[in-house]
């Protein structure tokens, strides 16, 4: 199974996310991560789906089926060159003796501390899935108290916008 990032421009209307999620479920496609948010144009939203796919045929079928949804404006598979980010908030066990050590590690990953208490420190970090996994591995010896991670968002590189081109 390989992961593919699909950027889906959709009409900003109620029920669109349900249609996309339902389509994945009905056709037996796997979603690894999902993120939805506004775009540069109010009437559109962008859904970023990381799809887990067995072969190219399945990926092609996902894209074609997504394109059939009336409220889907455009579907683009973002290649490996795209800028890809996930965000993680992680609460790590920390006291006076370990706190600065943790902050050192976190700053190596360009993360930052966003909350601190006598027994814990909460870290915010963004990056690719791999980078966040690496950070987590460094932090786990201290004890992970709580973790939350966003779905992946991504944009293609260069000046072009996905919504500029004639859709579909």
């Amino acid at each position: 199974m390989t992961n593919h990032t699909l950027s889906i421009l959709v009409a900003n209307r109620p029920g669109v996310l349900t249609r996309i999620a339902a389509l994945f479920s009905r056709r037996g496609f796997n979603i690894r991560s999902l993120a939805v948010g506004p775009t540069e144009r109010e009437e559109w939203s962008r859904v970023t789906v990381v799809a887990q796919v067995g072969d190219d045929g399945a990926l092609e079928q996902i894209v074609k089926q997504l394109n059939k949804l009336i409220e889907v404006r455009k579907v683009l598979e973002l290649g490996s060159s795209a800028v890809v980010r996930e965000m993680m908030l992680v609460k790590v066990r920390a006291d006076v003796s370990t706190r600065s050590q943790i902050i050192d590690v976190v700053s190596l990953f360009r993360g930052k501390a966003v909350d601190v208490s006598a027994e814990s420190i909460t870290i915010e970090a963004t990056g690719s899935d791999e980078k966040l996994a690496a950070l987590l591995e460094m932090l786990s010896p201290h004890g992970i108290v709580e973790l939350v991670q966003s779905g992946q968002v991504a944009l293609g590189r260069g000046a072009k916008s996905m919504s500029e081109n004639k859709a579909k």
Partner: protein
């Protein structure tokens, strides 16, 4: 500008006005609480509303209307159970790409989500079985939703569209505004095929030695029979017509090899298996046609033309994809073939011709002088007028009807293909008759199917819709029983309907205001068919009592290669001596 533009009206009035503007002349439905406001203006409208006995009947009737007329069928139901009763016909329309608009009432917008009386999230329920759906909560949104729904249902790959309208939106008032534009930025079906792809296809056709035109329901939907006929005459390529495409090329045409698939003819199945080129037109390589996919048409290159790009390459890898309306594709293909030679396929035609002559679908005489179901169906076709329309239920009688009725005209054969919906026949026959009041419309039904939706015969009797229903009564759920005979050592678990004792079908028919007839032998059979054909002031139901052990042959057992086709139990056709 129409008189009603800008006029303040209720949402209900706006709905009916919008339906009238879309040219709706008939709707099938049942009122209820949430949709009740709409039924008041409907009372005075130009739309003929046919009050059915069950919402499933409304849905299938709308399908029958749509399939036989090429127009959008309309059904109406109230919220909750009314709407959920439409689920089966909506799913059926989705599988067979039938243009259908289903209008349902919904509870008041502020009550949505509170588990209000007769509330069901019908939009959510039908999301995977509709082409698109609307939940309208504002009176102002009604005309646009209706306009878009009809456009979506009828264009591109047709299909069912649901318009769910909250009751308060039907009750509130607003000035009527008919939208000039639709708001469907993501919807642009490709209708015009790519010229380069068509040229490449033409070249591949010209170079082929064993080509087959594999014709599906898309040709029916696109009304492309004349263009298909032209291509066949021009290229002399043998044709197979799927269950959804029977009649697109007359069965009497020498190059029509019949229906492919699990119960296809040997010539049609063999044509696909031995072909070096499939020209697939408006068809989707359904598992009932392909059998085991990896051994389907193993020697063939594939040209696949379909209006839905997602069908291309979904099941079978394709060499030349052509996205577009199949009628337009055929036109361009005909033009492209003008400059090219027809394929050199004389030997292939001869080979298939031999297979066709040798392995015509046939049946064994019924024991002890009883009627054979196949014989009954064939006889109905022989005695009925040429312009008759035939509708079937689902099961053995459907397959026999596909083989033994005269499929000579396009768009005169209606059945439930993809979904296989038992109970389709009676209401769909009603819908077809409403759309074609001057044609003889026969429903060929089974005793199992008939008992699912026969109450619509009351609707037919009351509304002067004189359909003819033939019940092929073999007392059992025949197709399931056939599988039990073949694959479950004859253990007939729950397939005996005991319809030899109950119900008394002619009496049941009479009770519903129809003429009820029964035939148990050949003499009675002809007399009953003749009598049924002469009655045009009432619906007629003829029960044909047939023997229960008749099986549908040929057959490719589920999950195996089409090469394993059997022409009768334990009997394979002889391929080898015919190898090229």
């Amino acid at each position: 500008m129409a008189q009603t533009d800008g006029q303040v009206m209720t949402g209900a009035q706006a709905l009916v006005e919008s339906l009238e503007r879309m040219g709706v002349d008939v709707a099938f439905g049942i009122p209820g609480g949430a949709i009740l406001p709409a039924y008041d203006p409907l009372f005075d409208s130009s739309i003929r509303h046919i009050l059915v006995r069950h919402e499933q009947g409304a849905g299938h009737a709308a399908e029958g209307y749509a399939m036989s007329s090429g127009r959008v069928g309309v059904c109406i139901a109230t919220s909750g159970p009314g709407a959920t009763n439409l689920v089966t016909p909506i799913a059926n329309a989705y599988m067979d790409s039938t243009p259908l608009v289903a209008i349902t009432g919904q509870v008041n917008s502020h009550a949505i989500g509170t588990d209000a009386f007769q509330e069901a999230d019908i939009r959510g329920i039908t999301m995977p079985i509709t082409k698109h759906s609307y939940l309208v909560k504002d009176v102002e949104g009604i005309p646009l939703a209706v306009k878009e729904a009809f456009h979506l249902a009828a264009t591109g790959r047709p299909g069912p569209v649901l318009v769910d309208i909250a009751k308060d939106a039907l009750v509130k008032t607003a000035p009527f505004v008919w939208p000039e534009e639709m708001d469907l930025p993501g919807y642009r079906p490709t209708l015009k095929p790519h010229a380069r792809q068509v040229r490449a296809a033409a070249k591949m056709i010209a170079e082929s030695k064993r080509p087959v035109l594999y014709v599906g329901g898309g040709v029916t939907l696109a009304k492309a029979a004349p263009e298909l006929a032209e291509l066949v005459e021009r290229t002399r390529i043998p044709v197979v017509t799927t269950l959804m495409a029977r009649g697109q090329l007359p069965d009497s045409h020498e190059l029509n090899m019949g229906m492919p698939g699990m119960h296809g003819t040997v010539a049609a199945v063999g044509a696909l298996q031995k072909a070096d080129l499939l020209i697939a037109l408006g068809t989707r390589f359904d598992d009932r046609v392909t059998g085991k996919l990896d051994s389907f048409a193993p020697h063939a290159k594939v040209i696949h033309a379909d209006v839905d790009p997602a069908e291309i390459g979904k099941n079978k890898a394709v060499d030349i994809p052509i996205v577009g309306d199949v009628k337009e594709t055929l036109k361009q293909l005909n033009k492209a073939m003008e400059d090219l030679d027809a394929p050199d396929a004389e030997a292939w035609r001869r080979q298939l011709g031999i297979m066709k002559a040798r392995y015509q679908p046939r049946w064994e005489e019924a024991p002890d002088g009883r009627l054979s179901p196949q014989e009954v169906i064939q006889r109905i076709g022989q005695l009925s007028p040429e312009d008759s329309i035939y509708v079937s239920g689902v099961g053995q009688h459907q397959m026999w009807a596909a083989h033994f009725l005269p499929h000579e005209r396009p768009n005169s054969w209606l059945n439930s293909g993809g979904a296989g919906t038992m109970g389709f026949c009676v209401p769909a026959t009603m819908g077809a008759k409403v759309a074609n009041p001057d044609s003889t419309v026969w429903g060929i039904d089974g005793d199992g199917c008939f008992q699912m939706t026969n109450q619509e015969l009351v609707t037919c009797a009351i509304n002067n819709i004189p359909i003819k229903i033939a019940i092929i009564n073999n007392n059992v759920l025949g197709m399931v029983r056939q599988w039990q005979s073949l694959f479950y050592e004859g253990r007939y678990s729950n397939t005996d309907l005991k319809t030899e004792s109950l119900p008394d079908f002619p009496k049941l028919a009479e009770a519903m205001g129809c003429v009820g007839l029964r035939a148990t032998n050949e003499v009675e059979m002809d007399a009953a068919i003749q009598q049924a054909l002469e009655i045009n002031d009432r619906p007629v139901v003829v029960e044909f009592v047939v023997h229960k052990d008749a099986m549908v042959w040929p057959m490719v057992p589920a999950g195996v290669s089409n090469d394993e086709i059997r022409v009768a139990r334990d009997m394979a056709p002889e391929w080898e001596e015919e190898e090229l």
